[in-house]
């Protein structure tokens, strides 16, 4: 039996790298990060917060540098600065007449630049390249633990609050009208966003993490009309890209984060073109053969029950 499997083409391609501990580690860590990012990405794309994700990911840089300098876990520094940036954005937006995109742009580049200054001034063994683009192949044990903690907290929070968060994305006014505390939901979503970025820092780096936060959800959104389906599609495409991307980076000796994101983007392009309902081809086809719009409001009436 095992001889049959071993004879399959590509079997070596899959098994051979698994003899290296660092690669096994890289594969499951990036798969885990892919899962966390994919789940959150459904909420982020529906809420329209991609730019907020971008802001947080850039704003963590000074936190990482300071954490290394103070010899505390990088995740703590990154989280404080990432979440701090969102608080700063919220504060500035509420106190000035500026529009949100301008505030976000100012805050995140300011934080990022501050990080750059620190990196070049504080003596440390931080590789800026690794912060920017990730280094999952060289991930250390403590880093894995931090990634796991941040990721697990994110998953648990989303699991427990998923209905409220979805309502908050869909119709915050209704949430308010039924007496729910929308500021709590706002900060909960920001909190898990910051945590996810911290979790993904080692795998994807701050530049590429945006793709992992936006693309899986977008693929799901193009392929489905139901949130639970969207979630499954998002997770599957993200985890697949993370695992395959890590393999490809080993076999072709290319950047891991880069190949993960390239794969994800390819999946997105396929979904964009071939999605059965919202794909470009399907829409083109519908426009050429216009179907009469279903007009059942003529037949349908509001049923008035005389109770």
């Amino acid at each position: 039996m095992s001889a049959v499997i071993a004879a399959l083409p590509g079997w070596d391609w899959i098994v051979e790298p698994l003899q290296y501990g660092f690669l096994v580690r890289a594969i499951w860590v990036s798969a885990f990060v892919g899962l966390v990012c994919a789940v959150l990405s459904c909420y982020i794309t529906l809420k329209g917060w991609s730019l907020m994700g971008d802001a947080i990911s850039h704003a963590v840089v000074p936190g990482v540098v300071i954490a290394y300098a103070l010899n505390i876990p990088f995740a703590i520094g990154a989280f404080v600065f990432g979440f701090g940036a969102t608080v700063a954005i919220g504060y500035i937006k509420s106190r000035t007449r500026l529009k949100e995109d301008a505030v976000i742009g100012i805050v995140f580049t300011g934080f990022f630049a501050f990080g750059l200054v620190l990196v070049t001034k504080i003596p440390s063994n931080i590789d800026l390249f690794h912060i920017l683009f990730g280094n999952v192949l060289g991930i250390s044990q403590p880093d894995i633990i931090q990634t796991l903690i941040a990721g697990v907290i994110t998953l648990v929070v989303i699991l427990v609050r998923r209905k409220d968060l979805l309502l908050f994305c869909f119709d915050p006014n209704h949430a308010k009208a039924i007496g729910l505390r929308t500021p709590v939901m706002y900060y909960t979503l920001l909190l898990v966003l910051a945590l996810t970025i911290v979790a993904a820092l080692q795998t994807a780096g701050i530049i590429l993490v945006i793709s992992m936060l936006v693309t899986p959800g977008s693929i799901g959104y193009l392929l489905s009309d139901r949130f639970d389906h969207m979630l499954i599609i998002s997770v599957v495409s993200s985890v697949f890209s993370c695992v395959m991307g890590t393999y490809l980076s080993y076999h072709f000796d290319v950047s891991t984060g880069g190949s993960i994101v390239v794969l994800l983007t390819l999946l997105f392009v396929m979904a964009m073109i071939f999605a059965p309902k919202y794909g470009i081809l399907a829409q083109e086809f519908r426009q050429r053969s216009p179907q009469p719009l279903e007009e059942d409001s003529q037949k349908q009436q509001v049923v008035v029950d005389q109770a």
Binding site: I178, G179, V304
Partner: protein, 260 residues
Amino acid sequence: MPATLPRLDIAVENVSVTYNNARLALYNATCTVEPGTITALVGPNGSGKSTLFKSIMGFLRPSQGQVRVGGLPVPKAQKQQLMAYVPQSDEVDWNFPVSVFDVVMMGRYGYMNLLRMPRAKDRRLVMESLERVGMVQFRDRQIGELSGGQKKRAFLARALAQAGKVILLDEPFTGVDVKTEKGIVDLLLQLRDEGHTILVSTHDLASIATFCDRTILLNRTILAEGNTQETFTKENLELTFGGLPMVSLEHMLPSAEVSS
């Protein structure tokens, strides 16, 4: 059906709203929505109708004044699920991946535990609400796949499922055909007879006299309020829609730019 709900009024006291750009949207609005009535809130576009609506629903904080529902401050009334809201169509993201059933179920969230696990009662009420607006067979549709009238009815069902005693409808008749409009009106009349207090914002004057007990006329401030027959006079409507006399405008709205 509960024939006698405790009837609740909406009391708007001296509410002024200034937006960030220093534009005064609403000035010193005082009015009362009498309990157990259908009241129309009427004014031209840009008259502050939506602003007053949002103030009543607590979506924005007035710079001055207060709103009470059944004697309670709005947040308290909302916590007790007294207030239901049917949004304007263009405030809804129709591409959002939720079904009609999901939307109506959101009306029940305030009654559920922290995990929002629906119980049998929640499901039953959702189905009853869907039935009442004639949307049962569309319950699994994604909300964007509905016609204009169906969309309205889906959100009306959400308000029914919430079982709020005060229902606010923001422009419920835009993009809706005559038949659906009549259906919605019939339903509102029934809800009123059950004791609900209903406030409808509209700029469609034709239908108001047919079903609204009371009317509030608004243009930057309350211009008239009372029984529909008495309030719906030519002078009042000219006052509301033809722009205010300049003298009173300058007196009342020192910093507002008023579009005629």
